[in-house]
Symmetry: C2
Subunit: 210 residues, 2 copies
């Protein structure tokens, strides 16, 4: 693959386009071969530049990893924005399962998520700011969808929407960690479905599950 | 603090004792000041040896971190072994909340847990083996306690004990991550209690919560 050079070499828009290409190539390589097993030189090759050229855009492999995660979170947020505002409570919970199935289609990205989440434990890291933002948005968005469902009467009025959203995301993250540790032998989608069903049984008006 | 030297210098038992002291000192420092902010020289000072002496026992800060986590998992397993075999289902779930409160008494160790869990995502890492073992044991132990409760009729017969155990641990891990990211502003014990209560309402024979 060669780099596109529609504008003058080194121009701003070319830089942006190249950055995007690098992130995309890195996401693919990391997802397929794993973060640790992918050499920067290989990603540079994929986009038709030298390793030095790549390092001009991303100072280190870790910086590239963060950019990949940022991209993943943005894609995920877009996907969630596609869940209709008039979805009933169980549909929102089913979306949690569907989101997990999407993750499983790119198993390498699950490993990356666990990797960067650790980085984020250090409040001075760049990963920290990224994750703090991601959690705020994800919990807010999910709680918002639950709240709309409460308003339309498809979830019980006494539902603590923020707490349920937080729990859903905790289960998803914790199970992703177990999935990585078990080297993929855990049935992740099924485990998320079990939890979503349990949630449904405690917050739907008729106590029915998924 | 000076090192004890009851045996001949360098003997096996002295080595073991010193190793234990280093791990203890590291656990305290990491918990109080954070992993990243603690210098190895400071831990060496705490046990009355040089940094070179410390590196003789642990090749790097990362190796020391792993030893601290191993120690934490062992302490945790001991604590869980203290939950009586005749505990009813809700008592086992309340133990999940109590375990969280214990973690919160050593907040620095929660940060460490998140840090090492990321390491563990790499199957070739030493952290991987440690975490794989920890998850197997923790899930087995918790599932065993639930199974005993099912046998005595304090949990419903159709309870999938392994799945419930896995979910409890996922919630605990996922919420610990959120707690670290929120820099301690999340009410962790309350969030774990909410989940334990939800579990109780779906697996106790009378559908009652905690």
């Amino acid at each position: 693959m060669t780099s596109s050079t529609r504008g003058p070499r080194g121009s701003y828009s070319v830089g942006i386009a190249r950055r995007r290409k690098i992130v995309q190539a890195a996401a693919e390589r990391f997802a397929q071969e794993g973060y640790h097993r992918t050499a920067l030189s290989r990603i540079a090759e994929d986009v038709g530049i030298t390793e030095g050229g790549l390092l001009h855009h991303f100072r280190s492999k870790k910086h590239l990893l963060l950019a990949v995660m940022e991209h993943r979170f943005a894609t995920e947020a877009e996907w969630w924005a596609g869940v209709p505002d008039d979805a009933d409570g169980t549909e929102v919970l089913r979306a949690m399962v569907a989101a997990t199935e999407r993750h499983l289609a790119e198993p390498g990205l699950i490993e990356l998520f666990v990797l960067t989440s650790a980085e984020a434990a250090d409040p001075t890291s760049a990963a920290h700011a990224l994750f703090a933002d991601r959690y705020r948005r994800a919990i807010d968005e999910l709680a918002h969808l639950f709240r709309l469902a409460v308003e339309r009467g498809t979830l019980r009025e006494d539902t603590d929407c923020a707490a349920v959203a937080r729990e859903c995301i905790a289960v998803s993250d914790g199970l992703q960690l177990q999935w990585v540790i078990s080297q993929g032998s855990l049935d992740l989608a099924d485990a998320v479905r079990l939890h979503a069903d349990r949630i449904a049984r405690t917050i739907t008006p008729d106590g029915r599950g998924l």
